[in-house]
Amino acid sequence: MEIVVSREELVAELALLQGIVERRATIPVLSHLLFQAEGERLSLAATDLDVSLSTGCGAEVLRPGQLAVQAKKFTEIVRALGADEVRLTLAEGNNLAIESGRSRFRIRGLEAESFPTLPKVESSSELEFPLATLRQMIGKVLFAISSEESRFQLNGALFKATDSTLELVATDGYRLARVETDFSGAGAEGLAQGVLVPRKALQEILRFSGEEPVRFRRNEHHLSFRIGDRELISRILEGTFPDYERVIARDHEKKPVLSREALQLAVRRVSLLSGERARGVLLRFEADLLTISAANPDLGEAEEQVVCRYDGEPVQIGLNPDYIGHFLGAIESNEVRLELKDAESQCVGFPIEDPEGEAGDRYLCVIMPMHV
C-alpha cells in the first residue's frame, strides 16, 4: 500500500473514528483502525464490536493495500503534522511509514485480516431524515439514558417512527425524556415498534455534521445510519423498554409557568446547599410565586424566590436539582410549564414554544420526586 492523502481530510475522519475506538480495549485489534486503499479512496473503519463506523477520504493510490493501525497514536501523529499532504506506505512487517513534509514516522500495525468483519445491513426499505433533526432529538434525550450497566435495556434510547412522526425516548428509571417530531416519509414499518439504539451510537451521530440527510436501515440485529460516504452500524440493544406512556401523567392540574432561565439559575444557586446523600431541592408553588429551598444538616440552608404564573392550590415537591438542570439545559424556549400533582407524583416539564417559532417538535421530561 502506498497512498497520498490530504491531511485535513484525514484528520476530519479520524476525529469521527476516535469516538468508536475502545479506550480500554481488551482485544488489541479493537484499538486499531482498518486502512484499505483501493481505486481513488482510502477506506477507514473502527469498531468496538457493538458500534462500527466505516468512512474514508479521497486518496491518490499508488499501490493498493490494507493494514490495521493503532488508532490513538496514528491520530496524534497526523494531527501534529505540519504539511498539507501525508504519504502512507506499508513497509515490511506490517509497519506503516508516515511521511509529511520533512517528518517521517514508522509505526507498527497489525495484519488487516485480524480486524473483525463489519456487519452489513441489507434491507429493502430505507428511511431518510435530516441529520439536523436527528441531532436535535438526540440532544434532548441523551442525558436521561441510564449508565447503570445492570439496567442494560436502559443504556440506550427507544427510536420509533410512524408515517408522520419520529420519536426518541430515554429513561434511567428516575426521569424520562421524550421528543417527537413531524416527519413525512414512507417506509417506517420497521420502526413502528421502535428499536433500542445504544448510547454510543447516538453520541457518535452527534459528532456528524453537514447538510447530507441520514439514510436509515435496519435488519434483525443491526441498525445502519448512512450519512454521505460514512456508515455507522450499531447492534440493536436487546431488551424490553419499559411501558413509558403509562408514566407520562396527563391529568395533573397544577401547572405553573415560569422563566426557564430564572428557574435554572435559582435551582443552581440553591442546590449549593442541598444535602450530600439526598441532594434534593424543595420547590413550593403558591400564587404567582415559587420558593426554592435546600437544607444540608452539616452546612446550612438556602432559599430563593422566583416569580411564576400560577393560580392553583399551593403545592410542593422535592426534586434532584441535576435532573431539573438537565431538562432545562436540553431546551431553548424562554418559558417552561411544569405539571404537578403532589409531593409523591411525577413532575412533567414542557417547553413553552414561542408562538412565532416553528412548531413540530414536541418535548417533555418526566421527573420523579425525591423525599427531601
Binding site: 429513561t171 428516575y174 424520562l176 439526598a278 434534593g280 409523591e344
Partner: protein, 365 residues
C-alpha cells in the same frame, strides 16, 4: 468469614504496613499544653493524694520519681510531693482524642482505636503520596505536633503486634520502624511480657519453662505451647515468630460486607461455580438484611488455581435481594475466565452500603 475491608491486604497475602500511634502521657500532656505554668513540672492526673484512688497518668517529669499510671495516689504523693495533682477531665480528653483521630483518618480509613490515646492504622493501601509507611508516620507525627500541640510515638511494622511494641520502643516522641525482614531480630531480645496478651500469670508460667525472652520462647514447639496454654499457645507460637494476622478493624460505619471461600478442590465447571455464587449471594443478602443495609456496588473476586486474582465490580440500584445480587454476580462472572480456568477462590463483597430506604429518590420504573 467477614472482613473489615475488601482491600484488606492481609487477605491478598501482601506485606501490610501497620502503624501504632500512641500519644505520649496523653492526659497529662493535654493539661500541660493548656496551662503553660505546668511546663517542666511533674504533673499527675488521678485521684487526690488524700483519697484511695490511683494515678491515671503522669508526665515524664513525674515518672522520674517513680510515679506510674495505676500507682495509688497516696503513694504517688509520697514519691513526689512537689507534683501538681490534677483531677481527670475525661470529656476534654475525649474531645482531644477525636481531633487527633480525625488527623489519623485523613491518612487511612482503617483506623482502629485501642483507647482514647492509641490507635492502629493500616496504611498498606495508602502510601501515596508519601511513598512509604515511615514517611506517613513522620507526617502524622508532624501534623499532631503542629495542629494539636502534642507528641505521639509511632511504631511501624508488618502487623499490630510489632507496631505496638515498636511504638513503645523509643517513647516519648519517638518513631520506630521495623522492616519485615528485621522482625525476628527486633523481637528476639525482648522479654516475653512485651508480647500482646502476656500478663504476669503467663510470664510466670513461661518462666517455669525456662523462658524469659522471645528468643527463648521460639525454642518451644507449637505442640508444647498448646499443651501448656491451650489455644493461646498457638498464638504465642506465632507471636514469637512475629506472625500476627489480626486485621486493623475500623469501628466506623461499615463500608463493605462480604465473604469468600477457598475451595479444597478447584472449581472447573460453570455449574459448580454458579451454585457457589448462589450460596454466596444468599449469605450476603442475609448479612445485609441483618444490618438493615442495601448495597449499591457488588464486587466479585475470583482467584484462579495459579493464584492470580481478579475482581470485577458493578454498581446498580441499592438492593439486598438475593436474586438481584445473584444476577449481578453472574454478570460479573462473565467478565472473568471462570469456567475456562480452574477457580480456587470465590468472593462476593457488597459496598457503597446504605440504610434501607435511605435513597429518597422515587422511581418511575
Amino acid at each position: 468469614m467477614e472482613r473489615s475491608d475488601p482491600a484488606d491486604p492481609a487477605a491478598s497475602g501482601a506485606v501490610r504496613r501497620i502503624l501504632h500511634c500512641d500519644m505520649d502521657c496523653f492526659y497529662a500532656a493535654v493539661h500541660v499544653r493548656d496551662d503553660p505554668s505546668l511546663r517542666g513540672r511533674p504533673v499527675v492526673v488521678g485521684g487526690s493524694p488524700q483519697s484511695r484512688g490511683v494515678i491515671a497518668a503522669a508526665n515524664y517529669e513525674a515518672r522520674r520519681f517513680g510515679v506510674r499510671s495505676a500507682t495509688p495516689s497516696a503513694r504517688a504523693y509520697r514519691l513526689c510531693p512537689q507534683a501538681v495533682f490534677l483531677r481527670p477531665d475525661f470529656p476534654r480528653y475525649q474531645a482531644e482524642s477525636q481531633e487527633i483521630f480525625a488527623i489519623f483518618r485523613e491518612f487511612t480509613d482503617l483506623v482502629q482505636p485501642a483507647s482514647l490515646d492509641e490507635a492502629y492504622l493500616d496504611v498498606s493501601a495508602r502510601l501515596d503520596p508519601w511513598g512509604s509507611a515511615t514517611a506517613v508516620a513522620q507526617e502524622i507525627r508532624r501534623r499532631v505536633r503542629e495542629e494539636r500541640g502534642l507528641t505521639v510515638s509511632v511504631g511501624v511494622g508488618p502487623n499490630r503486634l510489632v507496631a505496638k511494641i515498636a511504638s513503645d520502643f523509643d517513647k516519648p516522641d519517638g518513631l520506630t520502624v521495623v522492616k519485615p525482614h528485621r522482625v525476628a531480630a527486633f523481637l528476639e531480645p525482648l522479654l516475653v511480657r512485651k508480647l500482646h496478651g502476656v500478663g504476669p500469670a503467663t510470664e510466670r508460667a513461661l518462666q517455669e519453662l525456662g523462658v524469659q525472652t522471645v528468643l527463648e520462647l521460639r525454642r518451644l514447639s507449637e505442640r508444647r505451647l498448646k499443651q501448656r496454654f491451650g489455644r493461646y499457645g498457638g498464638v504465642l507460637y506465632r507471636f514469637a515468630r512475629g506472625i500476627d494476622d489480626r486485621p486493623v478493624r475500623t469501628d466506623r460505619v461499615r463500608k463493605s460486607l462480604g465473604s469468600e471461600t477457598t475451595y479444597s478442590q478447584d472449581l472447573v465447571d460453570l455449574e459448580a461455580i454458579d451454585r457457589e455464587l448462589h450460596r454466596l449471594s444468599t449469605g450476603l443478602s442475609r448479612s445485609l438484611a441483618r444490618r438493615e443495609l442495601e448495597a449499591r456496588t457488588l464486587t466479585l473476586k475470583v482467584r484462579y488455581s495459579d493464584f492470580t486474582t481478579v475482581t470485577r465490580s458493578l454498581s446498580s440500584q441499592p438492593t439486598r435481594a438475593a436474586d438481584a445480587l445473584l444476577e449481578t454476580a453472574r454478570l460479573l462472572l462473565t467478565r472473568t475466565e471462570a469456567g475456562r480456568r480452574p477457580v480456587r477462590l470465590l468472593g462476593l463483597t457488597a459496598s457503597k452500603l446504605q440504610t434501607e430506604g435511605e435513597d429518597s429518590q422515587l422511581r418511575l420504573f
